[in-house]
């Protein structure tokens, strides 16, 4: 460890730590375009200039290593002037079309301009013309004139996705990002370049022209698209005459799980969350009569993407009324890869073992055939192929095809309408938060089942302290912000 000083504050850091990373980790604002923790150092934007005592010239923080006694100034008048001059150059050929740019509000150029720009424009010559609205494929639109050539997107396709679609072509002020003719962006992670782009050069075809970002509310959540558990931010809002709607998912940094990224399929899975579903209210006493009164054999099939809390309440309910509970994770071998896509598509499949819920397909089939009542909790398996004369009851978050007798359908809140926890494929338990507030938010699964049997744990808190923490071997408050790795089931 060595001691350095940043703006006269002492910081202890590892010797040879990268200065820009140290500044970021210590919440010292440092302007930059090209440096990115996941992509490494490129040194091309020159925006992270700092003053280092003893150095003749300003230095870039992304190419400075921390040594004992390093004295850094990030806000001295000299350095602000230097950054202002470089920012002026970044903008000299930029179209400055913020009013029609979707990046407005979350654009580094805008932010830095407000931080230390604010000069009058001295521009009086023609600008460099480049291509606008280039459709790169995979929902990614490119405006070459807005690009600051930080090369984050090209480095992503070359070094991270290794799909090599994007490169910089041309030279000097004619340099620009491009894909090959007839070779569009084509990889399962393509849309990450939109998040990586610090300016409005790369925008999402799926999101652009929909919302101004400052009208969005952001909530931290977990992608439910597979069992990887990529951390996301849900951006949503309520507009006049419309329900609360999600407008996009963005990956959220979690170095233990998804770094800064997520797959396109997960990113676009919010469209399903937004799908308008009919509201099928429940009647607690009818459900009680159906599920809790007679001795006949009953089977429940729960979706393995349900939260730990929802699976627990079902488990407690089924145990009490001798209902056989199964949960069958959905597996799609064509989906998985060795990075962020897991073939187990059910977000909470790893929880089943901890909660002692059977996931045996054979056992389920056997039980279902002799059952008098089949209760489906949002599982896509609709029992059509099961030879049984049982009555079928559906609890569902979304309308599905061929809904049959609608009297046997109860709708409940999907994951974006409630808080919960998920255990991912690496046994990391993570929290997600309620983002949407509308009619679907009221009837959570927990609410429905505690209405049916009001002796069950009434709240998530009591459920945790009374049941879940025993099963998992940790309490709710033990879960770290970036998730906590659970010990194996046997060690719990």
């Amino acid at each position: 460890m060595v001691n350095i000083s940043v703006d006269n504050q002492k910081i202890e850091v590892e010797e040879n730590a990268l200065l820009i990373k140290v500044l970021q980790d210590n919440d010292v604002e440092i302007s930059h375009f090209c440096y990115h923790e996941a992509l490494g150092v490129d040194g091309n934007c020159r925006m992270c200039m700092v003053e280092i005592e003893g150095a003749k010239r300003p230095q870039i923080a992304c190419n400075t290593l921390c040594k004992e006694g390093l004295k850094v100034h990030t806000k001295s008048p000299n350095i602000l002037k230097v950054k202002q001059e470089i920012l002026e150059l970044e903008l000299i050929n930029h179209p400055v079309d913020c009013p029609v740019c979707d990046q407005a509000g979350e654009c580094s150029l805008q932010n830095y301009y407000m931080d230390f720009g604010l000069y009058g424009s001295r521009h009086s010559v023609e600008k460099t013309k480049k291509a606008k609205h280039v459709d790169l494929g995979s929902n990614v639109m490119l405006d070459q004139e807005r690009c600051v050539l930080c090369a984050r997107c090209t480095r992503f396709t070359q070094n991270i996705s290794k799909s090599n679609e994007l490169f910089i072509i041309g030279r000097g002020d004619q340099a620009r990002v491009s894909s090959a003719p007839n070779k569009p962006l084509n990889n399962p992670y393509a849309m990450n370049v939109i998040d990586l782009c610090p300016v409005g050069a790369l925008t999402s075809k799926d999101f652009r022209f929909q919302q101004r970002v400052w009208f969005l509310d952001s909530v931290e959540s977990i992608c439910h698209g597979c069992s990887k558990g990529c951390n996301i931010t849900i951006d949503h809002n309520t507009t006049k005459f419309d329900n609360d709607r999600i407008h996009r998912y963005r990956p959220r940094r979690n170095m233990a799980i998804n770094s800064y990224f997520m797959c396109d399929e997960g990113r676009l899975s919010f469209h399903k969350e937004n799908k308008k579903s009919r509201h099928f209210p429940f009647n607690a006493s009818t459900l009680r009569t159906l599920m809790c009164t007679d001795e006949s054999k009953k089977v429940m099939l729960a979706n393995a993407s349900l939260s730990v809390e929802n699976l627990s309440i079902l488990k407690l309910f089924c145990d009490k009324y001798s209902i056989e509970l199964f949960s069958l994770p959905i597996v799609d071998e064509t989906f998985g890869d060795d990075w962020l896509r897991n073939s187990v598509r059910s977000a909470n499949a790893s929880a089943l073992e901890f909660l002692e819920i059977s996931s045996s397909y054979e056992a389920f089939l056997k039980a279902a055939q002799t059952s008098k009542l089949l209760i489906n909790i949002n599982h896509p398996l609709l029992f059509e192929n099961i030879e049984s004369h049982a009555k079928i009851m559906h609890f569902t978050t979304h309308d599905f095809e061929d809904m049959g007798d609608m009297r046997n359908i109860v709708s409940f809140a999907s994951y974006s309408h409630e808080n919960g926890t998920l255990i991912n494929s690496d046994n990391i338990i993570q929290k997600f938060s309620k983002s949407l507030h509308n009619i679907h938010s009221e009837n959570t699964l927990h609410h429905i089942f505690t209405q049916i049997d009001n002796t069950l744990y009434k709240t998530q808190e009591t459920l945790w302290s009374g049941y879940i923490s025993k099963q998992l071997g940790l309490g709710f408050s033990d879960i770290q912000k970036m998730g906590t790795k659970l010990k194996g089931v046997n060690n719990a």
């Binding site: 925006m47 190419n63 002020d173």
Partner: protein, 417 residues
């Protein structure tokens, strides 16, 4: 004043062929030098104070030591010869490639021995197609005669690599990037002094003329070399003259002579009997010096530094009294605008902005604010980029504004009335 060390065989017809070259002493430094320890050879080069002749003028011996001492697991080291000569006003290395390529090859064999390299690449600018043909012929001959390849001279391999039109590839790290099959983007500065690296292995990059100076030094000793030039700028340089000069061309001259004498005596004075206005002393990137100062300028690194300029490549561009300095600067800024690699912001945007603002001066549309913009863009380009391309452009602008500001102001005032 004029000396024949590197240019010894320039006037001999067909000296580029090995038979003629051998008749005139080519490869004579090999026998004695190759039996010496590599370190001994490096010490002679250090003792000679040989300075790199590609423009920077750094001590060659230090670079050799860095390359020779850089740890490498595989034991592989490379010598890369920079023949990307693209600095406007500079046309000296092509004389060696075309007239005495065997001197270069001899220098390569010696240098490889001194740093422990077996492979060498000569990176020649793409436009030098004709000279590449001559050089390749010479390399083939050297292989055939047993100087290169499997031979008693250390099994050195030489590959001639053709560039394809990019000034920036004369910058050593951009050159290596290009030689690795990439765009010619200069690399970030290392955190401590170290050699260059070619595909991760230590590499030495030296200019053609530097390597061509090696045989003389190793054959005759450091003192023989230091007998020429000044204490700090020993030896000779292939100085070049172009522009408004009666006898343009390349002349080998020892360091430390009067620039004005050189222009008048060797260069034959200014064309059409006109008066001298200014000299760009060492390739376009060195700041311009006006005539009234030239009489005190000596042709060595230290003297030119004292005039806020640099010796650079020694390629002088001479301008007569009728030269329009506004147009001259515009001409050069067009060059920098065209040649910026575009990797880092201050250079990519600064060179294009400066060029466009200069167009306003040429068109008599400029204002005082444009003059201020030129100065501030120049300031932003200086010392804030990955390589020295933008700082060089900045020096060029500063030099013109320092000495000829009145012509720029005249442009503005002409617009005003």
């Amino acid at each position: 004043m004029l000396v024949k060390i590197v240019s010894k065989k320039f006037d001999i017809p067909n000296a580029h062929t090995i038979d003629v070259a051998l008749e005139h002493g080519a490869y004579s430094a090999l026998e004695d030098s190759l039996v010496k320890e590599p370190k001994e050879l490096r010490d002679i080069i250090i003792e000679s104070n040989l300075r790199g002749k590609g423009g920077g003028g750094a001590a060659a011996g230090n670079k050799w030591n860095l390359a020779a001492n850089q740890p490498t697991e595989s034991g592989t080291r490379y010598l890369i010869v920079n023949a990307d000569e693209s600095e406007p006003g500079t046309f000296k290395d092509r004389q060696i490639l075309a007239k005495d390529p065997h001197l270069l090859i001899e220098g390569i064999i010696l240098t490889c021995h001194a740093i422990g390299a077996k492979s060498s690449y000569i990176y020649v600018r793409g436009e030098y197609e004709e000279f590449i043909t001559i050089l390749e012929g010479a390399v083939d001959e050297a292989y055939a005669k047993g100087f290169l390849g499997n031979s008693k001279y250390g099994n050195i391999d030489v590959v001639v690599h053709r560039g394809a039109g990019a000034y920036i590839c004369g910058e050593k790290s951009a050159l290596i990037e290009s030689l690795e099959g990439n765009r010619g983007h200069p690399r970030l500065k290392p955190h401590q002094p170290e050699s260059e690296f070619y595909f991760g292995e230590p590499a030495l990059v030296n200019n053609v003329e530097t390597i061509a100076s090696v045989p003389f030094i190793l054959e005759n000793g450091a003192d023989a070399y230091k007998a020429h030039g000044t204490e700090k700028s020993p030896g000779t340089l292939l100085f070049a003259m172009s522009g408004h000069i009666n006898n343009p061309g390349v002349y080998e001259c020892s360091f430390g002579h009067s620039m004005l004498d050189f222009i008048e005596q060797t260069g034959g004075g200014i064309k059409n009997g006109k008066k001298l206005k200014a000299v760009i002393p060492g390739g376009a990137s060195t700041p311009i010096i006006p005539a009234h100062l030239i009489k005190d300028v000596m042709m060595d690194y230290e003297s030119l530094r004292s005039f806020d300029s640099a010796l650079g490549t020694g390629g002088m561009i001479i301008m007569d009294e009728d030269t329009d300095m506004v147009k001259a600067l515009k001409n050069l800024l067009h060059f920098y605008h065209h040649e910026s690699c575009g990797q880092c912001t201050p250079c990519r945007e600064g060179t294009s902005w400066a060029d466009r603002v200069m167009q306003k001066f040429v068109d008599k549309r400029a204002t005082y604010e444009d003059l201020e913009i030129l100065r501030s863009v120049s300031r932003t380009m200086n010392g804030k980029t990955i390589c020295v391309f933008a700082p060089a452009c900045s020096d060029v602008i500063d030099g013109f504004l320092r000495h000829f500001e009145d012509e720029f102001i005249a442009c503005i005032q002409e617009e005003a009335c």
